[in-house]
Symmetry: none
């Protein structure tokens, strides 16, 4: 008999954790190693717990799932990440798929069976994406290709969103674990692409183009 798949769960909402917990703990091939409502906390827990798969929500405060996934991938390359999301929010996912920081992405409206299937597949070295996610990614791609000459990178969009939330460069740097200089550079590039130099113009553009 093979070892159980050891899983860590992180989600803002305790109820979702409890849910996933009793959902998965019934399965004989799975063992819940640890769980938390804080991305920071789970990251530290991974040091002391042997974990095969990290189940993480995407939309979390203050550290979102994207950042967490990236950090985990750097620090613990053996841990696979399965992202859970409420909606098929495309932007960020795109980045994650490209840089290998996640091995799977499913919407929270999937059933128990599909979730188990996804976990099994990922545990065996595979990759799993919900159909809805793939479709929505494709749409996102189309939209980006045809719509505008201006193409912001995933990182730039992250930064635009943080600007919109009234973070200054220092706060953004802290949030994304990068240098303040780097944020300045991103900001420069954003304004260069926009051909503007006012935050207000940026915000209005972002609203119009549904970057937020």
């Amino acid at each position: 008999m093979k070892d159980k798949i050891r899983i860590a769960i992180v989600d803002d909402h305790q109820i979702v954790i409890d849910g996933l917990h009793s959902l998965l703990s019934n399965d004989p091939s799975i063992e819940i190693a640890c769980s938390s409502t804080s991305a920071q906390e789970i990251f530290q827990m991974l040091q002391k717990n042997k974990v095969d798969i990290l189940l993480t929500d995407i939309m979390m405060e203050p550290m979102n799932g994207v950042t967490l996934a990236k950090k985990v991938h750097e620090e613990y390359p053996l841990i696979k990440v399965l992202a859970l999301s409420m909606s098929g929010a495309g932007d960020m996912v795109d980045e994650m798929i490209r840089n290998d920081s996640i091995q799977g992405y499913v919407l929270k409206n999937i059933g128990k069976q599909e979730l188990l299937q996804a976990i099994q597949k990922i545990a065996n070295g595979g990759i799993y994406y919900s159909d809805e996610v793939l479709i929505s990614l494709e749409k996102e791609n189309d939209r980006q290709k045809q719509s505008d000459h201006i193409k912001f990178t995933a990182r730039e969009i992250e930064i635009i969103r943080l600007i919109e939330r009234e973070n200054n460069n220092k706060q953004i740097a802290g949030e994304l674990f990068i240098s303040e200089r780097t944020v300045e550079t991103h900001r420069k590039n954003i304004f260069r692409k926009l051909d503007s130099n006012s935050v207000i113009g940026l915000i209005k553009y972002a609203y119009e183009h549904k970057l937020i």
Copy 2:
């Protein structure tokens, strides 16, 4: 021995339903009568199933939890409604509390214990609100009372509009034939009234309150 509390669950996300299901079905005093990812569907199910408490998400598409709660309260006045929410979104809740269409409101970041407690209390004819919800409601009230109190003078509104059009202080001064210092003072007063110091906050406020 008393009858079990019969519960119906509705939530956009199957995973949350599954979660709540296995969370609650362990409890001997509770029985899950039915569940669905569709508000429409659950509403019809209530005709054929005897249900004591309806557990419903607030943010759902296309029929949201508020509408559902109201309809249920009209059609089946004996069914109690416990609303679940991701965030303490104030607006809608206020209304529901006032017109008695819900008997409880909890955030999804509550734990298993608190959820059971809430259900028990409601089943016995009580009312249950998370502390966070009450706090956030109070804040919402304060905010509304306060924000309605913000009165910008005609001159200040002129200046806000010029700020929104990406004019800097010098340009505004030129436009209004006043000193740059005066513009600075107006700006200071505007931010003081807003209790903020970021242009972005100002712009968002202006849009929300149709100052532009």
